[in-house]
């Protein structure tokens, strides 16, 4: 599935809920469904700064596609990562770099996050794109 159609799906899923409590419940479920990272993998070099909670993000290149794994000590944060991973997992680095991020506003994620969490979200996206940049360079070489 293309990044765009996954984003479209997500926006539609979030529209189904009446209020933000339900959306949070959904994010918590998404967070719980995210596969755990082994504690030995949670090293400081994988920590994303800018969150009140800790976030670890790792990536690898499978053929010409990037796979992401991530974890957090806070479950709502984990839900947010799960959303991002669903959008960007198994995509080509160039597509990740080209991706429009407007779905975040369409879902209403940012305005319903506390400022520190919104900052964390920006840092997560930055980090995802950094991995994509690195892998794109690798593919080019």
């Amino acid at each position: 599935m293309s990044i765009e159609s996954i984003q479209q799906d997500l926006v539609e899923e979030f529209e189904m809920f009446d209020d933000w409590m339900q959306r949070y419940e959904y994010m918590i479920d998404l967070g719980k469904s995210l596969p755990l990272i082994d504690d030995t993998q949670k090293t400081d070099d994988k920590i994303i700064k800018g969150c009140q909670s800790k976030v670890w993000l790792d990536a690898s290149l499978d053929g010409d596609k990037v796979t992401f794994t991530a974890d957090s000590d806070a479950i709502i944060t984990k839900g947010i990562i799960a959303i991002l991973i669903r959008v960007f997992n198994n995509q080509k680095p160039q597509d990740i770099l080209n991706a429009e991020m407007s779905f975040i506003d369409d879902i209403g994620l940012k305005e319903h996050l506390s400022p520190t969490r919104a900052n964390g979200l920006v840092s997560m996206i930055k980090q995802l794109k950094m991995y994509a940049t690195a892998y794109q360079a690798k593919l080019n070489s």
Binding site: M21, Y24, S53, I76
Partner: protein, 404 residues
């Protein structure tokens, strides 16, 4: 007669809604809400007599100056300083601490010792670390026990003739523990050390008496005492304020200026460079008047009642742990629920209209001590109610259900 429902009418913000629910404001340790009396004072200033102070011959300037200085006197009376000139207006606690830390740069030498406590706010750690870097002085830390209570035996052991400065907060912002500052001050004086007390968390709960405490410096912020943000005080004993060099140069703080030599103004103006927060200073006075009208003993009674009730109700939640269980406490409850991140709890209960603080509360060393990423902190003021505690408890229960 103390009637919380009447008092709540003084605070317009308390009747607003958040996320569709009535606001339950339990983040009073971060900043208090403001009563209409203080808001009116601010409006009155800008509507009727806004002018720069201490420098104009015109009527408005005189009125503004009189009110600003009258507020300084209100502050002096409230805290029982011996002179009005011992009250320096600053932009708040952080500014006051930095002023003193900067002033001591030229008064310390390598190997001198500075004592802080394990319970400090970052505002009361970082400036001293910077002072140590500048001077070669060494920072020593008074340890605490599992209840969040400072170890006074260890403190006495730390004191020696190299100890120059002791800095402790009156009440811990992260845990709400009241520190035995009278003992701390007296012991420090035995070895000739100077004591600064950070009263940011204390002055909204207790009436502090500077002379009775005999502290050398005491600092606090208006915004935690129903006053506006951006204003606070540094109290210092006259002899110490005379000894400290000026902090910033500029207008207001000088006696005479030529390119060859400038002489500084006397106290308190020596430390008040530039146009100050005039309105803020005046409104700080109004906030103190307001609190005194309510009465600190009534405030304490209401807050103790809320603390006791909230403690009991929260502890009924399975897996909930309170940090800072020492018996000398103000109305602050810092807690976690086993297996849950404080940030998640704070996020969910915010959606239910409850405002609390989550995180390390600018006291990372305290969190490291308990080996936790942070806590949820509910802090109560005299205008909070039993019903609001109930709303907190039921919101926390709901969050727990959603998150586990």
């Amino acid at each position: 007669m103390f009637d919380v429902n009447e008092i709540r009418k003084d605070f317009p913000i308390l009747s607003r809604k958040v996320n569709g629910y009535p606001l339950v404001y339990l983040d009073n340790a971060a900043t208090s809400q403001k009563p209409q009396q203080v808001i009116d004072c601010i409006v009155d200033y800008y509507s009727n007599y806004n002018a720069n102070i201490h420098r104009g011959v015109h009527t408005l300037s005189q009125e503004a100056t009189d009110k600003y200085e009258a507020a300084r006197n209100t502050i002096k009376e409230h805290f029982n300083a011996s002179k009005t000139s011992e009250i320096i207006y600053t932009s708040g606690t952080t500014h006051s601490i930095n002023l003193v830390a900067s002033g001591f740069t030229s008064l310390l030498k390598k190997g001198d010792e500075i004592i802080v406590s394990a319970l400090e706010h970052h505002s009361n750690i970082v400036p001293w670390q910077m002072l140590c870097e500048r001077t070669g002085a060494v920072l020593k830390v008074i340890p605490m026990n599992q209840e969040g209570v400072l170890d006074m035996d260890a403190y006495v052991d730390l004191l020696n003739d190299k100890t120059q400065l002791v800095f402790v907060n009156h009440i811990s912002n992260a845990l709400g523990i009241i520190n035995p500052i009278k003992f701390i001050i007296d012991q420090a004086h035995r070895v000739g050390a100077v004591v600064l007390i950070d009263g940011a968390q204390a002055c909204s709960h207790v009436k502090v008496d500077f002379q009775a405490l005999d502290c050398d410096f005491y600092v606090t912020s208006a915004h935690k005492m129903c006053g506006p943000t951006g204003v606070g005080i540094l109290y210092g004993k006259e002899a110490w304020l005379e000894k400290l060099p000026p902090y910033q140069g500029g207008g207001e703080m000088i006696a005479e200026v030529s390119f060859e030599k400038t002489t500084y103004a006397g106290l308190p103006h020596k430390f008040e460079a530039g146009t100050p927060n005039i309105c803020g200073g005046i409104a700080f006075g109004a906030a103190i008047d307001y609190l005194n009208t309510i009465g600190f003993s009534e405030i304490a009674k209401q807050e103790e009642m809320l603390l006791e009730y909230a403690n009991k109700k929260l502890l009924e939640i399975e897996g909930l742990k309170i940090y800072g269980t020492g018996s000398e406490k103000t109305s602050v409850i810092s807690f976690n629920i086993e297996g849950l991140h404080p940030y998640d709890i704070g996020t969910i209960i915010d959606k239910l209209g409850i405002a609390v603080r989550t995180g390390h509360h600018c006291a990372q060393p305290v969190m490291d001590f308990f080996n936790i990423p942070g806590t949820v902190r509910a802090s109560f003021a005299f205008y909070n109610t039993i019903e609001e505690v109930d709303a907190l408890v039921s919101a926390v229960k709901k969050a727990k259900m959603m998150l586990s």
